[in-house]
Symmetry: C2
Subunit: 468 residues, 2 copies
């Protein structure tokens, strides 16, 4: 029932409102307070006193990328199992109790982290903290619940992957891009491996990774650090730190050629071109990461920016054209390029048009006006993030769990403001050049309706490409 | 100096001479004798008394596929290190001593096994056995030799991979076909991982995998089992068995789409089309493995068989057209389809012609005459294998190390004789059908000269394929 949500869109929230930023021009976005318990648990408080409610999030610095070889899906399955009971809370009762308090809860697993969150009236804070502290260390699902949850997880996979050609296709694109890297495995796990997992295997993973010194508590809402500290010490303070394994992951070797993946499938109505790039994450290279974030906005920041204006409005060859950069990762980040052709337009036409747009940035750079407008939009467009209850906790938690510091989050507008045209041009040339055969860490995907069974010969176009 | 030789061609030797087979119609090919020492070491003797010489081979049931994640290249590097000394044989002296006896030696590493061999006059057998037993347990390279050998291995990799676009390209094809499977890693290892290996890491692997109960001794030549047994007991018998880890490897998940890999490279003069398939190995499915072996011979068994006759002689669109099946593997086997187009012919033309030939086999099957001739050729063409000194040891050792039994080798002609037209048709339909979108475990590769920089527009053909 709990869902995997790989928060690749969260970076869009990772900004502040224009008004707020101007008020605090040299100041912090969230004015978060932070302290660390003696057992190593980091705590962040984001005060918001508009209503007597809080969002309580625990971010564990463990995710699918930490799974042992051959045991994929374990981190996500374990996330489900944290709802399946301890000695004092029966299987399924965790969420029931939160709902009985008038709150709601959920959880998600990604490559780098696993997070659990609840939103509720602040008066229930101690009840929730007690329950979260309990399941951090004492999860022990009854065998029947372990087995039934395995079916739930496999059904979740079937719905998102086996029964969804686009999901299945994306999974394979990631696998072929992230060769020899844990990000090449799906967060939900390979079906045959998830289906074979046992509780002793998952329990070992749980004992190795779940503990206060591998967790970040982020609370946003009607509370201050001074108020929270004694509670955190009372409920989380007694938990013993664990011996943490190093997070050393394998990496992608250089590859000489660019792969293409083509799928004709009866469930695909509308062709789509997509290209997935490996790029530095913000953690790996902040300067390039900020530049790629602004470049995303310049290419695909609305109807007046390059991709939409050129492919949809002027050339009329596509119904959409997108680029998104996801820099929130402990290891490599990614970029997705995609477009849906207009009726009757071939996929390689939109592919070539996107490449032409990339070449323009690489050759001529972007304008002062584009740069200024993009920065302004990035600050304006997500005003809601600062003002919502759970949004800031989400942004701060994800950033910390992705290897950034609290200052990186607090001074995000200032970092964006420093991005120059030269940095954008250089990042585009380094990571998006379609003509640099020595460095093309990407894969192209062509998702297509089924091949027409009996088209007249003169209308048939080559399907797998004319290679010469 | 020692070389990796992945013996994908050895299956061609894995037959007997026609005359010999007829003499022993219901008999064994090699008349090998076998016994097992008390410590678990298997011994096979293939008598051949034509000259007073022997080939001594030790096959370890460990290879690149057994390497821990992130430590690729370890099995092959260890093979090199077995020439770098023990307490009683100085680094480099092993091969020197063999040469001083008038013999020669070498070694090779594959995914499933590692083998060391020497050929020499039988009078020196005890000397060689003593040295092999010593390095099985006592290898301990001086630090300087460990480091210098790392440079040798990296240089070996550079020559075969980084400096050879075809080798580099093939490595990537295997990586993209064998997703989540150790066969996706190159035997020589990923460059950045080989360069980071340390002796303590390799020594752990050595202690875990090198021992008498993980070794097969195969001796061919002027000796009998009765003569060898006391010597084997004397030299190998005292070695203590080791606790062997299970050989449990991860496997390839189902994939929805068929990848293509294209490379335009200045060092490529002549375009090549290739397609790599995953198929059952002989160990995984003997009946299908035998059928695929005969199918290989029918498709690509010489100038009078289907591929050459059709593409080269009749259609004149290719200068060669090949299919080879490699069924010698503990896990999945592979099939390679490839063709070189004639001057001016596009790669997709030869690709489509190969696919048309496959469709013919799937639709109409093969003829009685083709089947009979293929079986006869397979028996006739490798008469030398039985008669050479080292050939039979190579075939027997590789077969046992690939999970087959001595009887599988001894009765190979009888197994081939039983293959039917129906089995061949069924195997082709199951593994080679280009039109079955539900089961296409293959990757297609297009290796091409550099793109011409300024061809006139009307002569330019699409390079990355026209997708619609």
């Amino acid at each position: 029932m709990k869902k995997i949500r790989i928060l690749i869109v969260l970076v869009a929230l990772f900004v502040t409102s224009g008004a707020h930023a101007q008020e605090q021009a040299q100041g912090k976005v969230y004015n978060a307070e932070t302290f660390t318990l003696q057992n190593g648990m980091q705590v962040v408080v984001i005060p918001n006193h508009r209503a007597p409610v809080v969002t309580h999030m625990i971010w564990y610095r463990v995710g699918a990328a930490d799974e042992p070889r051959g045991l994929t899906g374990m981190a996500h399955y374990l996330e489900h199992l944290l709802f399946k009971g301890t000695a004092t809370v029966k299987a399924g009762d965790f969420s029931k109790r939160i709902r009985a308090l008038g709150g709601n809860d959920n959880a998600f697993t990604a490559q780098d982290y696993t997070a659990f969150f609840e939103s509720f009236a602040v008066e229930h804070l101690e009840t929730v903290m007690k329950m979260e502290a309990d399941r951090m260390m004492n999860t022990n699902p009854p065998p029947g619940d372990f087995t039934s949850e395995q079916k739930v997880v496999l059904e979740e996979r079937r719905q998102r992957t086996e029964n969804d050609p686009r999901g299945f296709f994306s999974e394979q694109m990631k696998a072929l891009l992230f060769v020899n890297h844990p990000y090449g495995n799906p967060v939900i796990g390979w079906q045959h491996e998830v289906g074979a997992l046992t509780w002793p295997q998952i329990q070992k993973f749980y004992k190795e990774h779940y503990g206060p010194n591998n967790a970040i508590l982020v609370i946003s809402g009607d509370i201050t650090a001074a108020q929270l500290k004694p509670l955190a010490e009372k409920y989380y303070g007694p938990l013993k730190p664990i011996a943490l394994p190093a997070r050393e992951w394998t990496s992608v070797p250089p590859m000489i050629a660019t792969p293409e993946l083509t799928l004709h499938h009866p469930q695909i109505q509308q062709p789509v071109f997509m290209r997935l790039y490996r790029m530095p994450s913000l953690k790996e290279n902040k300067e390039e990461g900020y530049a790629l974030s602004v470049l995303q906005e310049i290419l695909d920041g609305g109807a007046a920016t390059r991709f939409y204006k050129s492919l949809v409005v002027e050339q009329k060859i596509a119904t959409d054209a997108n680029f998104s950069y996801d820099g929130m990762a402990i290891s490599d980040g990614t970029g997705w390029l995609s477009a849906t052709p207009a009726d009757g337009v071939a996929l390689d036409v939109v592919e070539k048009a996107l490449e032409a747009e990339l070449r323009k940035v690489i050759k001529d750079g972007v304008t002062d006006q584009e740069l200024a407008e993009a920065k302004q939009r990035m600050q304006d467009s997500a005003a809601f993030a600062r003002d919502s209850l759970s949004g800031p906790a989400m942004v701060v938690g994800q950033s910390l769990a992705s290897g950034l510091t609290l200052d990186d989050v607090e001074y995000w507008p200032q970092h964006l403001d420093k991005v120059t045209k030269e940095q954008i041009k250089a990042a585009a040339a380094k990571y998006l050049d379609p003509d640099n055969i020595n460095r093309r860490p990407y894969i192209s995907g062509y998702l297509l309706p089924p091949v027409a069974p009996a088209a007249p010969a003169e209308e048939t176009k080559p399907v797998n490409g004319a290679k010469q």
